[in-house]
Symmetry: C2
Subunit: 459 residues, 2 copies
C-alpha cells in the first residue's frame, strides 16, 4: 500500500500532471493497485480526474472505477462520451453495476441503463428488486454453471470459454436444466481430479446456500463461519439465481460493525467515510439522538428535584451522585456491549436469555460487592479520616455502598436484558448501548440512593 | 446452518447416542459442515465427545477438530492413542497446528510436538517465533510455489502433485532459487491460459506483500482493501516465507472489532465467546476498569463538594447536573467513536488531526447551539411556565444553556483528540471511548457550570 499520508507521492503526481508528462504519469499509476489509484485520484482536484482516468488501460480503468467513491464516479460519468461509458460498463461485473446505479442520481442512472447491454440490464433490474438488507441485493448473477454429466475436461473447457466474464471461477455450480442447484465443485477439485472424472461423482452435494431474502449480515457471517469463498443464493423454488463472493461479504461485515459502533454511540449510521461526511450531514446523524437523550435526562432531573429538600439537609450526598451514576452506567455498558457483540457474532440468541441473566447476576454480585467494599474503605479512610470531612459518617458511607451494590446489580441486569429484548422484537440490539442504558441506570441509581438515604438517615 | 437453538437436533443426537445407533449417528453428523459438527459436539456431555468424534471419517474429523474450542480439543487429545493423534496432526495445516499449540497446556504441547513430522515441526517452530500480533504468527507455510520458466502445463502438473497438501491453490507464487518472490499467478489465470504459455509471461509482477513483522490487523485490512484471497508474507531479505489466507484475515478482523467493542465498553478483551467465559474470568476483565473509573469519578465529587455552599443557596441548579453531564458525555462519545472507527478502518490517521478537529468544532457549534436553544425554550415553557417552578429564572436558564453550549464544544473536541493522541503514542485508540471521555467531560462540564453560575448568578 502506498503511503498517501505524507503527500510526497501526490506531489509527484500533481507535478507530472502540471507538466503534462502523461506517459510518465501512466507508468507511475499503473504500478499501483486499483484501490490505491482510486485513492490517489480522489485526492486530486476534480477537474484533473477525467484526464488522468483516461490515461489508464481499459481493464485497469474499470477496476479503478469500481473502487471510487460515488462523487468521483459521477464526475467521471458526466465527462464520458457514450462510447466511453459503454466501454466502462462492459467491464463491470453485474453487482458493481448495481452498486453504481444505487448511488447515482436519476438522470445518470437513466444514461447508464441506456448503455448497458440487455442481458446485464435484466440482471441488474432483478438484483435491484431485492430489499436493501437481503442476500439478493449483494449477489452477482455471473457464476460458472456446470452440468452433472460433464467430465472434468468438459468442465474445464466450459470454464475456459465462459470464465473470463465471471466474478469468480474458484467455485463452480452444478445445476439441472431447470436451474436447481445440485452441487458445487471447486476449481481446486477440478484441477486435482482426473480429466475423465464425471462432475456428478466429484461434486459436493452437501450444500449450504442462502435464500435471496436472507439478511445479508447472516449470509456474511455464514461465509466466515464455514470459511467459504462464495455462497450460492437460491430463490423460493430452490433455483440458483446468484452467488455472494467473499469480498462482498467482508464489506458487509465491516459495514455492519461500523453501523453497530455508530448506533452504540447514538449516531445514525451513514455509509460514508468520516472525512467525506459534511458538517450538516454529521449534525443530522447526531443531533436527533442528543436531543432525545437530553430530554430523557429530564427525568433524572425530576428525581433529583423531588428530593431537593432532603439533599439540602444532607448536602454531602450530592457529591457522590456522579460516582454512583457513572459506575452504574459503566457496569450497564459492559454487559450490554458484551451481549450486543455476542448477538451480532451469532454466539448467543434470545433463547440464551436465562443463562445470560444468570451469568450477569453473578458477575454483578461479585463486582458490586468488591466495588462497595473498596468504596467503603475509601470513604472512611480518605474522606473521613484523611480529609477530615465530618459529614461522611459511617451511616452515610453505608448508604453510598448499599446504593452502589444495588445499582451495579440493576445496571448489569438491565444492560444484558435490553439488547436481548431488542433483538426479539426486531430492533437492532446495538441501539441498547451506553447512551440509553446510562439514561435508564441514572434514574434507577438515584431512586435507589434516595430510598436508602431516607431509610437509613431518616431524611 | 442447522438450528441448534431449538434443541430438536441435539435431542435426536443424544437419543441416538444413548441407543448406541452409531451408523445412523454418523450419517446424521456427516451431512453437516465441520463448524456445525463442532458446535453439536460442544453441546453434548464431555464423556460422549471421544466416542462421537471417532465416528467421523478421518478427513472430516480433522476439519471438525480445527473448528472446536480449546477445551474440547484438550479432552479429545487426552483420549487419543498415539496413532490417532498422529493421524489428526497429519491432516492439519501448519497454521492450525500452531493455533492448537498456542492454546494447549505444556504437557499436551510436548505430546503434540513429539508426534508431528520433523518438517512440520520446523515450520511450527518458525511461526511460533513471531510476536502474537504479527503477520508471521497467522501465516501458513504451505503454499504452491512455481518457477518462472515453467509452462502452464508444467505448473498445473506441479499443482496436481503437491496441491492437495496446500491450504490454497487459488493463488500460486513464483520464486527464484533463493526463494525471492518474483510474481504470482492465480489458478484462474492458469486455467484460462494456453498450456504452452510461460509462467513468467502471465504472472502478475506488481505484487503487494506483507512483512513477517507487520501488524496482523493491517494485513487483514489490506486483504480486504485489495479484495485478495491471500497475501504473501516475506522476511527481511524479501524471501517468501508464508501466506495469509482470507479466512484467517476475516478471523483477525472479527477479533479486532470485538476487541474494540470491549475496550470501548471498558472491558479487557478476552478471545473467548461470551457464554464460554466463566464468572470469575468475566469479573477479572471488568472489575479493574470499574474500580479505576469509580476512583476517577471522585474528582467529579470533589468539584461538586467544593461548590456545595453555592449549591445550597441555589439548589435548583443541582437538578440539571445529570442532563449537562449526560449530554456532554454523549457528545464526546459520538466524536470519539467516529474517530476510533475511522482509525481502525485506516480512513483517517494522525496527520488528519487538524481537519478532524476543524470538522468536529463546526459540528459542535451547530449541535451545541441547537441543543441550547431547545433547552432554553423547554426550561422557560415547561419548567417555568407549565410547572410553575419560580426558581427557574431566565438567568438560571441562561446559565444552563451557556454551560450546555460550552460543554458540547469541549466534549466534541476532547472526544476526537484523545483517540488520535492515543494512536500517536501507540495506545489502542479504542480505550478512549465513552467511559474515559465521560469521566473527563463530567469534570469539565461541572467546572463550566459553576463558573457561569458564579458569574451570572453571583453565588
Amino acid at each position: 500500500m502506498i503511503d498517501l499520508e505524507n503527500g510526497v507521492f501526490l506531489g509527484q503526481v500533481e507535478d507530472l500532471a502540471a507538466r503534462r508528462r502523461w506517459p510518465d504519469l501512466r507508468d507511475m499509476l499503473t504500478l499501483l493497485e486499483p484501490a490505491d489509484i482510486a485513492a490517489v485520484l480522489a485526492e486530486l482536484p476534480a477537474d484533473r480526474l477525467p484526464v488522468l482516468y483516461r490515461l489508464l488501460p481499459k481493464e485497469l480503468a474499470a477496476e479503478v472505477f469500481v473502487e471510487m467513491e460515488p462523487e468521483e464516479q459521477e464526475v467521471l460519468i458526466k465527462s464520458f462520451s457514450d462510447t466511453e461509458l459503454r466501454e466502462v460498463l462492459e467491464e463491470l461485473y453485474v453487482d458493481d453495476t448495481v452498486d453504481l446505479i444505487e448511488e447515482m442520481p436519476a438522470s445518470v442512472v437513466k444514461r447508464i441503463l441506456r448503455h448497458t447491454d440487455p442481458e446485464t440490464r435484466r440482471s441488474v433490474n432483478e438484483i435491484l428488486r431485492y430489499p436493501e438488507d437481503s442476500a439478493g441485493s449483494i449477489m452477482t448473477t455471473e457464476f460458472v454453471d456446470l452440468k452433472r454429466d460433464m467430465t472434468v475436461s468438459d468442465a474445464i473447457k466450459r470454464i475456459r470459454r465462459t470464465g473470463s466474464d465471471k466474478e469468480t471461477i474458484n467455485i463452480c455450480y452444478v445445476t439441472d436444466p431447470s436451474r436447481h442447484l445440485l452441487g458445487l465443485v471447486s476449481i481446486r477439485t477440478l484441477v486435482l481430479a482426473d480429466e475423465e472424472d464425471i462432475i456428478e461423482d466429484i461434486m459436493e452435494t452437501n450444500i449450504i446456500s442462502a435464500a435471496t431474502m436472507d439478511d445479508k449480515e447472516d449470509v456474511a457471517q455464514d461465509l466466515s463461519r464455514y470459511d467459504f469463498l462464495a455462497m450460492p443464493v437460491v430463490d423460493k423454488e430452490s433455483r440458483l439465481v446468484g452467488i455472494v463472493t467473499i469480498d462482498d461479504a467482508i464489506d458487509v461485515m465491516e459495514e455492519e460493525a461500523t453501523e453497530d459502533f455508530e448506533l452504540m454511540a447514538a449516531i445514525t449510521p451513514t455509509d460514508k467515510p468520516y472525512l467525506r461526511t459534511g458538517v450538516w450531514e454529521t449534525v443530522k446523524s447526531r443531533l436527533p439522538w442528543l436531543m432525545l437523550l437530553m430530554l430523557s435526562a429530564t427525568f433524572t432531573g425530576i428525581v433529583i428535584s423531588s428530593f431537593e429538600d432532603s439533599l439540602a439537609v444532607c448536602s454531602v450526598l450530592i457529591g457522590f451522585i456522579p460516582m454512583l451514576m457513572g459506575t452504574g452506567g459503566n457496569c450497564g455498558n459492559q454487559s450490554s456491549v458484551a451481549v450486543i457483540r455476542g448477538l451480532s457474532l451469532n454466539e448467543i440468541g434470545f433463547s440464551d436469555l436465562l443463562s445470560v441473566v444468570w451469568k450477569e447476576s453473578r458477575v454483578a454480585l461479585v463486582c458490586g460487592a468488591l466495588l462497595s467494599c473498596a468504596n467503603f474503605v475509601k470513604l472512611l479512610a480518605v474522606d473521613r479520616w484523611l480529609m477530615q470531612n465530618a459529614e461522611v459518617t459511617t451511616l452515610v458511607a453505608l448508604v453510598i455502598c448499599l446504593t452502589l451494590m444495588c445499582t451495579v446489580f440493576c445496571a448489569k441486569v438491565v444492560g444484558c436484558l435490553l439488547p436481548l429484548l431488542a433483538e426479539k422484537i426486531g430492533l437492532d440490539p446495538a441501539v441498547m448501548a451506553a447512551p440509553f442504558i446510562s439514561t435508564i441506570v441514572d434514574v434507577l441509581s438515584l431512586l435507589i440512593y434516595f430510598q436508602f438515604a431516607m431509610a437509613l438517615l431518616g431524611l
